[in-house]
């Protein structure tokens, strides 16, 4: 196996660095033409000479505000960035941001945040929203960031990431941060758009979309996508007992097929949107007695369906009203072939295990905003979720059923918020939310102070708590193991309490020069009642896992980002995150990189219609579950995108340009607690509009 040192990786990526030097040296002065003479179309296309402080955001406090007034730094990624840097999944977008990293076990992509990304957990400590509505589903409370994310990345208008506790307005799971994915309007497409992609690993994607705004302001977007990844040429499961010379037997086992559709209609204050996603992925071979059994029947399927109606308007002087009502269905269907000496010694038999987990829920939110008190903005809201069907089944194909458990539950949240501006340079934010449900109640406050002492400087102090209620899955697993009656699952018979976290954060936004902005957050947190997995072995040797509130985890860290703009539309961005968390015994959690360094450069290339996006992501070493260490890694990506003509756009992406060989820590399967990641790969994309 080729091993490449991190230094050589750096050299390879540095092969592109001269671009920057060349750039800095050859930058033309800003073109003298007066902005006042530009046409409306030109103004709409024109970039900004400095990173703006007052980008409009809506996720930090649940209302439209300037990012400078938000209680924490807010990171915004736009459709332009997605195109420039050739991002292919939500995971690609997020891994480029300070403090975030993505782990891929070749089933799903998981998000690590502020040093926390336990392999085997399902992203339950971050809340992901789609146009303001919770994506985290109702059984595992998970929301994943890879191809299983319910909306095609091409339909994303922007992503807002708000680090820090968010439970004081969002409730459960807004533990380390909140991510809001905001979809495009039909107007952004203006007509029919066809998109085709081809990439390494036999990957194809095709999308057909239609978008239009009508004369009365009504807007319609329709889109359908099919994505098919054949799988790696070189099997990633080689270490898992596949005999030498027999690698072909596992070829393409990590295939992936995703089909999705999305529709959005808006008119005045009303929006109606819905979508569906179906994703199937193959499984690595089952390993018994050191031998691999590739089996093409093994697969995992995820399905998501959603339909949401929203209303947002001013209903009386000083009163705003926002309503949301929606239906969701989420399903997970796993087929797992097992091999072993089940029935007679010396005879290897095959049985097929099935897992089917499906939930349906209604949910909604009502929010009233009042501005009648001078310098105050008061918000009160209520949110509910009624999971009217949640069914978990585990059985053997043509065999016994181990578990068939239907359940239903509801949870409610009530919150209050006051934004007070005693001075033009000072904003105070006070919020609290009470959440109640069968898996534990919780009250969470959040206090923010945003001070703008000088034009170039904003200081943001934040204190808040957040919680994550144990999921239905965690409760169910635990209740069954302890033989509790299964008619009701709650704190009484599982003993599981919500995890809680208390966070202090100091944020700073400062302009070093008019075109260079420094954004930083220094934070410290203490988690109590972290839900961990226990293992129980009964007298027949059967192993079962259950959940239990284990001790305390403390952490501290720094996220810092510098963004600068040169003339001619060149933007550069450098971020560094340091994070350190430990349990009571001083142990670091697995999959927690201490240092991350990220660089992005976006520049016009060759002509004004072409753009180059260069990205380099460095992660320091990470521990694995089995107390090993994955080496540090540096991955560089380069994308060139542009317009061949007004209606034809192309993008050519080179990913992992240094062909870094690296692995992500994963939940141990068959003795392996890391999985190798993709080496150098490419993607070509063509968009045609009509």
């Amino acid at each position: 196996m080729r091993e490449r040192g991190i230094f050589l990786q750096a050299r390879l990526i540095a092969g592109c660095w001269p671009l920057i030097a060349a750039l800095a040296g050859s930058l033309p002065p800003a073109i003298a033409g007066d902005v006042m003479d530009r046409s409306l179309e030109e103004l709409a296309e024109m970039g900004l000479s400095a990173p703006p402080a007052n980008v409009e955001v809506s996720t930090a406090a649940k209302f439209q505000q300037s990012a400078a007034r938000a209680p924490t730094p807010v990171y915004v990624v736009t459709a332009d960035d997605i195109r420039t840097f050739g991002y292919r999944t939500l995971g690609d977008i997020l891994r480029a941001l300070p403090g975030l990293y993505v782990t891929d076990d070749r089933r799903y992509q998981y998000l690590g945040i502020r040093g926390f990304g336990l392999p085997g957990d399902y992203n339950t400590r971050v809340l992901i929203l789609l146009d303001g509505e919770r994506v985290n589903e109702a059984i595992f409370d998970n929301a994943l960031v890879g191809t299983v994310f319910p909306v095609d990345i091409d339909l994303i208008e922007r992503v807002e990431y708000v680090p820090g506790p968010g439970s004081a307005i969002y409730g459960s799971n807004a533990f380390f941060g909140v991510i809001n994915v905001i979809t495009k309007r039909g107007h952004a497409l203006s007509g029919v758009e066809l998109s085709g992609e081809y990439g390494s690993f036999d990957t194809y994607k095709a999308r057909a979309s239609f978008g239009r705004r009508f004369d009365n302001g009504a807007d319609l977007l329709l889109s359908a996508t099919r994505y098919d990844r054949g799988g790696a040429k070189r099997p990633y499961y080689r270490d898992w007992g596949v005999p030498a010379g027999d690698e072909d037997s596992v070829l393409g086992l990590d295939y992936e097929v995703v089909e999705s559709a999305f529709a959005k209609w808006s008119y005045g204050p009303f929006t109606l949107q819905g979508g569906h996603l179906d994703r199937v992925t193959g499984l690595p071979p089952f390993v018994f007695d050191g031998r691999a059994f590739p089996d093409r029947e093994g697969k995992i399927e995820n399905r998501r369906t959603f339909l949401t109606a929203r209303y947002d308007d001013k209903v009386a002087p000083d009163w705003g009203l926002q309503l949301r009502f929606g239906y969701n269905r989420d399903g997970y269907f796993g087929t797992f072939p097992y091999y072993g000496e089940f029935f007679a010694p010396g005879v290897i038999d095959r049985v097929v295990g099935k897992e089917e987990v499906e939930a349906d829920w209604w949910g909604g939110e009502i929010r009233l905003t009042n501005t009648s008190f001078d310098r105050h903005r008061l918000t009160m809201g209520a949110e509910w979720q009624n999971t009217f069907r949640a069914r978990t089944q585990v059985y053997f194909k043509d065999g016994p059923t181990l578990l068939d458990f239907p359940y239903r539950y509801s949870r409610y949240g009530f919150y209050l918020q006051d934004e007070f501006r005693p001075l033009d340079s000072l904003t105070l934010l006070a919020e609290a939310r009470y959440d109640t449900g069968p898996f534990g109640d919780s009250t969470n406050p959040r206090l923010g102070l945003i001070w703008h002492p000088r034009d170039a400087t904003t200081i943001k102090l934040l204190y808040g708590t957040a919680f994550r209620a144990p999921s239905l899955f965690e409760n169910l697993t635990t209740a069954f193991l302890f033989g509790q009656p299964a008619t009701a699952i709650d704190v009484e018979n599982t003993g599981l309490r919500p995890e809680e976290i208390e966070t202090f954060q100091l944020g700073l936004e400062h302009y070093l020069t008019p075109a260079t902005r420094l954004t930083a957050a220094l934070y410290r947190y203490r988690m109590e009642g972290l839900l961990g997995q226990g293992i129980s072995v009964d007298d027949r040797g059967n192993v079962d896992t259950y959940f239990v509130n284990i001790g305390e985890v403390t952490g501290q860290g720094l996220e810092a980002e510098a963004e600068t703009r040169f003339g001619g539309g060149v933007r550069a961005n450098l971020s560094y995150s340091h994070q350190h968390s430990q349990d009571e015994q001083g142990r670091r959690p697995p999959n927690s990189p201490e240092h991350m360094l990220k660089f992005r450069l976006s520049a016009p290339f060759w002509s004004e219609r072409w753009r180059l996006g260069l990205e380099a992501l460095y992660l320091s070493e990470r521990d694995t579950w089995l107390n090993r260490t994955t080496p540090d890694q540096l991955v560089g990506n380069l994308t060139i995108s542009g317009e061949m003509s007004e209606n034809v756009g192309v993008s050519f992406g080179l990913y992992n340009i240094g062909d870094a060989q690296y692995a992500d820590p994963v939940n141990p399967i068959a003795g392996a607690d890391t999985i190798e990641q993709d080496g150098f790969n490419v993607r070509f994309k063509l968009n045609v509009g009509f």
Binding site: I31, Q64, D219
Partner: protein, 174 residues
């Protein structure tokens, strides 16, 4: 390796120098950009009566957008010479053709907009609360763009007609 990267850097330099000669996409300061937008909005809007005397661009209080607009002095809009006026009270705003509001407080914003309702004044704002408060055109800052949304109903109620070019470029029209 080193030779290759040297070659690469030369090629890169070439790639970046050529477009410099060809005219790069340029960038602007956000307030300059807003001022330029406001100038174009004034050209693409029809008022119920043509201006008697000067065409008044009004700026509430003090704002850098005013500096951009003052560059227009000496030009004409709607066949009238441009005048840039600072206004500090809503009464003074009655003579404005275009008014730029930048209040932070929704309450102040709502007060001015209510007082000017049904007056033919094109109210433009960059406050995040302004779209909700029915300002006619509201700027929104993106990380690398200035975009705008239009409350068409509010404009029509004041007797203003906004051209389709403006509507086409708006992010949202209500």
């Amino acid at each position: 390796m080193w030779r290759r990267s040297k070659l690469l850097s030369r090629l890169a330099a070439l790639a970046f120098v050529l477009p410099a000669a060809a005219g790069w996409p340029d960038t602007a300061d956000e307030d300059e950009l807003k001022a330029a937008y406001i100038y174009r909005f004034a050209q693409f809007t029809t008022w119920p009566d043509s201006p008697a005397g000067e065409f008044n661009f009004c700026i509430q209080g003090d704002h850098a957008v005013g500096d951009g607009l003052r560059k227009l002095q000496g030009k004409t809009v709607q066949n009238a010479p441009v005048s840039v006026v600072r206004v500090d009270s809503v009464e003074a705003a009655n003579a404005c053709h275009v008014l730029f509001l930048h209040f932070d407080q929704p309450k102040e914003l709502a007060g001015w907009i209510a007082a000017l309702r049904s007056r033919p004044v094109l109210v433009v704002s960059d406050s995040p609360a302004a779209f909700q408060e029915k300002a006619m055109i509201v700027f929104a800052m993106e990380p690398n763009r200035v975009t705008f949304r239009i409350n068409l109903t509010a404009a029509r109620d004041s007797g203003l007609f906004l051209s389709s070019q403006m509507l086409k470029l708006a992010q949202e029209v209500r």
